[in-house]
C-alpha cells in the first residue's frame, strides 16, 4: 500500500457564498468523505479558510519575513486536503476522479 495526499483545489470566492448555496456541495462531499473513511481509504484531512485569509512567513536573506496573503496569487488554490492509503497511483487517481468537488492534485507522501 502507498500513501497519497489529495490537494482539493478551489476557485477563490467559493467559500464566500452563503451557507445555503454551499449546502448541496457540502452534503455530497460529506457523503464521499464518510464512505471512504468507512472503507479505510481516507485517513484524515482538513478544510482551509479562503486564500485571502492566508499569512505567509518566509526566509529572506536569513530572516523570517511576514507577509499577508498566500505564497502564490492564483485563481485556483488549495482549499483542503485528504490523506489516502491505496495500492498505487492508478488507484489514487481513481479516488481523485470520484471527488465530488473540483480539481485535485495528487502527491505521493514521503515515508520516513
Amino acid at each position: 500500500m502507498a500513501q497519497y495526499v489529495l490537494l482539493f483545489l478551489e476557485q477563490e470566492g467559493w467559500k464566500d457564498q452563503s451557507k445555503e448555496a454551499k449546502a448541496p456541495a457540502y452534503a455530497t462531499i460529506g457523503k464521499w468523505w464518510e464512505d471512504l473513511s468507512q472503507k479505510g481509504i481516507l485517513k484524515g484531512g482538513g478544510e482551509l479558510q479562503p486564500m485571502r485569509t492566508a499569512t505567509t512567513v518566509r526566509r529572506v536573506n536569513g530572516t523570517m519575513k511576514v507577509t499577508e496573503g498566500p505564497f502564490i496569487e492564483s485563481k485556483e488554490h488549495v482549499g483542503g486536503f485528504g490523506m489516502i492509503e491505496v495500492p498505487d497511483l492508478d488507484a489514487a487517481i481513481r479516488v481523485a476522479k470520484s471527488w465530488p468537488g473540483g480539481n485535485v492534485e495528487v502527491r505521493p507522501i514521503v515515508v520516513h
Binding site: G46, V57, V66, V104
Partner: protein
C-alpha cells in the same frame, strides 16, 4: 484556541535527492522543530514528494482529464503540512517564524460549525 494548517513551503530544493551538508542540517533542525512543538500538533499531516511527482485531475465541462504535474508551476510549492492548535493568529505567526525551513503559509482550518 483555533486550528491552523501550516503549509510548509519548498523553495525548489530536492531534499530527497543527494542533499548538501547544509541541507541535511536544515532537515535535522526540522525534525527537532517537530519534537519541540509536538504538544501543539493535532495532526502531523504529511511530507509530500516533489511537485515533479504530482498528477492533477481536472474536471472541465463534464470531462475528467488527468495530467502529469502540479496544478500550478512555480518556484515555491507546498512540500508538506501539519495542523496545529494555537491561541490565535499572532501565536501562529510567532511559531512559524521559528521554522528552520524556507517558509510557511498559515491558513486557519474551517470548523464543522462554519460550514
Amino acid at each position: 484556541m483555533a486550528k491552523y494548517a501550516f503549509l510548509f513551503l519548498d523553495d525548489g530544493v530536492d531534499y530527497q535527492a543527494a542533499p548538501t551538508p547544509e541541507q541535511q542540517k536544515v532537515y535535522a533542525d526540522i525534525f527537532k522543530w517537530f519534537e519541540t512543538n509536538g504538544d501543539k500538533i493535532t495532526d502531523g499531516g504529511a511530507e509530500l514528494q516533489p511537485t515533479r511527482t504530482a498528477t492533477t485531475i481536472r474536471k472541465t465541462t463534464g470531462k475528467t482529464i488527468v495530467v502529469d504535474g502540479p496544478f500550478i508551476e512555480a518556484k515555491e510549492s507546498v512540500g508538506g503540512f501539519s495542523i496545529l492548535e494555537l491561541p490565535n493568529k499572532e501565536a501562529a505567526v510567532a511559531l512559524a517564524k521559528t521554522w528552520p525551513g524556507h517558509g510557511i503559509e498559515i491558513r486557519r482550518i474551517v470548523e464543522e460549525s462554519e460550514r
